[in-house]
């Protein structure tokens, strides 16, 4: 059995940043366990630019962003175990993993950072009727085919869902000579970042059809087309608007799910809205010494925030390893009206790593103008005016230690819309 101070599960952006920060904090015996054959995770297939504006103050592609961390990792002494899949983790931080060289490995770690990322929702989650022909891919799978394997999965493409990967793939397919017929979004607003709607669709004249969905998939061996229809305000298809669109490929960009099978084994408390574990100010789950960061915690729209969160988790782990203190919860954080969730879920003021703390949250719906109110049992802690809010663009609010200290009982975040949507 191996013994480690800190094991990081996952070598994507969250795992890489956590490993580097842990090494910088002086944590010895750090190991990354990664199931792929290389580091970088999903960044390696995200060859488009737009990464790193916050962390590096320059615009990088996904592989460049990853490479910067991989290069730095070389001289840190962090051990990297590739092609290795973690299959079990116990609440007392015993990890079981498998690979084809060693077989089963057992690692006892003093602290663990969960950085497994997320996976895509598939057709099975959508209940679209029709046959099961070849030619239906999640957007990320198609992205891997094109950008890593070097294959084009289709020629005439319809994309369901306006998630960022779907938008990015619309442009990628177009550049590679395929015809992207349209992007369909069931909601009345886009689920992707504004810049992706502009750069990936508008630039190439690809129509974005809001309040539309696929109601049938045609073709027995290969996709031959899809039937699309407009939906009403209850998201139910209006059959009189049904229309057949011929295509050979259907891409699904319909959401991401944090990959928490391992987290569940630890018995940590979960947040039903993020589908990830609940964490405190240092990204520690309710299971002592087990931390989480990145998309396993909540799905991010910018990798920069993943990096910041991972650094915080690593500093939290370093603090835990030094002080051997439990998972203190302290002040409870509540997502009130207008918000889907707020992270972290609890703040233990005495254990705060900085004089300030960032809170991440998402609105329940698009709002042109809204007032964010943060209140506790003894009154309002802070208010802030926000504009152009979209559920797809994460809100980041900083609170000072002194502000959190004053709050009694809980911190409740409420988003009140001002004025009416245009």
């Amino acid at each position: 059995m191996l013994c480690k101070d800190l094991v990081i599960i996952g070598g994507g952006p969250a795992g890489l940043a956590a490993a580097l920060e842990a090494a910088e904090q002086g944590v010895k015996d750090v190991m990354i366990v990664e199931r792929d054959s290389g580091l970088g995770g999903i960044l390696q297939q995200c060859i488009h630019n737009g990464f790193g504006l916050h962390v590096f103050k320059e615009e990088l592609t996904g592989p460049e962003y990853a490479q910067k961390f991989i290069d730095k990792l070389e001289n840190t002494g962090v051990e990297v175990l590739l092609d290795t899949m973690v299959i079990e983790i116990t609440p007392d931080k015993r990890i079981f993993a498998v690979n084809s060289r060693i077989g089963v490995l057992e690692i006892q770690s003093k602290a663990v950072i969960l950085a497994m990322g997320c996976r895509e929702r598939t057709r099975g989650a959508l209940n679209i009727p029709g046959f099961r022909p070849a030619g239906i891919f999640t957007a990320g799978t198609a992205q891997r085919y094109v950008n890593i394997e070097g294959y084009m999965p289709g020629k005439e493409i319809v994309i369901l869902g306006s998630g960022d990967i779907g938008l990015i793939m619309a442009r990628r397919f177009t550049l590679e000579g395929a015809k992207v017929k349209c992007v369909l979004e069931i909601m009345p607003y886009s689920n992707g970042l504004t810049r992706n709607v502009v750069q990936c669709l508008e630039d190439y004249g690809i129509p974005l059809r809001l309040s539309h969905t696929v109601i049938d998939i045609h073709g027995k061996k290969r996709v031959e087309g899809v039937t699309v229809a407009k939906v009403d305000e209850n998201l139910k298809p209006i059959l009189s608007t049904a229309e057949f669109i011929p295509c050979d490929t259907l891409l699904l960009s319909v959401g991401l799910i944090p990959e928490n099978e391992l987290t569940k084994m630890t018995g940590a408390d979960f947040d039903a809205s993020t589908q990830g574990p609940m964490v405190n100010q240092r990204m520690e789950t309710s299971c002592e010494g087990i931390f989480a960061c990145g998309n396993v915690l909540h799905v991010h729209d910018l990798v920069d925030f993943v990096t910041m969160e991972a650094r915080l988790a690593a500093r939290g782990a370093a603090q835990y390893l030094k002080e051997k203190d439990g998972s203190c919860r302290g002040t409870k954080v509540i997502a009130g009206e207008g918000l889907r969730y707020v992270l972290p879920h609890a703040v233990c003021v005495e254990k705060m790593l900085d004089e300030k703390l960032n809170f991440f949250m998402r609105s329940t719906r698009p709002m042109n103008k809204a007032k964010l109110v943060i209140e506790s049992e003894n009154g309002i802690v802070k208010t802030k005016m926000l504009s152009y809010l979209k559920p797809s663009e994460m809100i980041n609010i900083e609170l000072k230690k002194s502000e959190i200290e004053k709050a009694e009982g809980h911190l409740k975040f409420i988003l009140q819309e001002e004025g009416v949507l245009q």
């Binding site: 630019n49 615009e59 290069d71 504004t194 750069q199």
Partner: protein
Amino acid sequence: MSDKRNVTCIICPVGCRIEVELENEDILNLSGYRCKRGLQYAKDEVTSPKRILTTTVRLKARSAHVLPVRTRAPIPRSCMKDAMKELKSVFVCPPVKMGDVVLKDVAGTGVDVIASRSWTE
């Protein structure tokens, strides 16, 4: 005759909606931007829109077939197609380092195409 065009700024995730008033290609007025970069972006966007091109080129490596690349700087949107065409015939042999030039002066833009990641074998 003046003409109004809306530009969504993509420089940062804020995504300012900038309104540009034009008269015969001349900019009369700009509003809605929150920083200097946004102002410049809106001006460029209505006169000569530019984008960074990201794509892949062929790679002769043991474990991979393609290498991610990008233009070092933004190139005119109108040159995208020609650039893609030129990059179709580029073949890279490892070792390659992130930032290495894989194609000089793509599509007559004066901009080089560089590798987005390193590859040793």
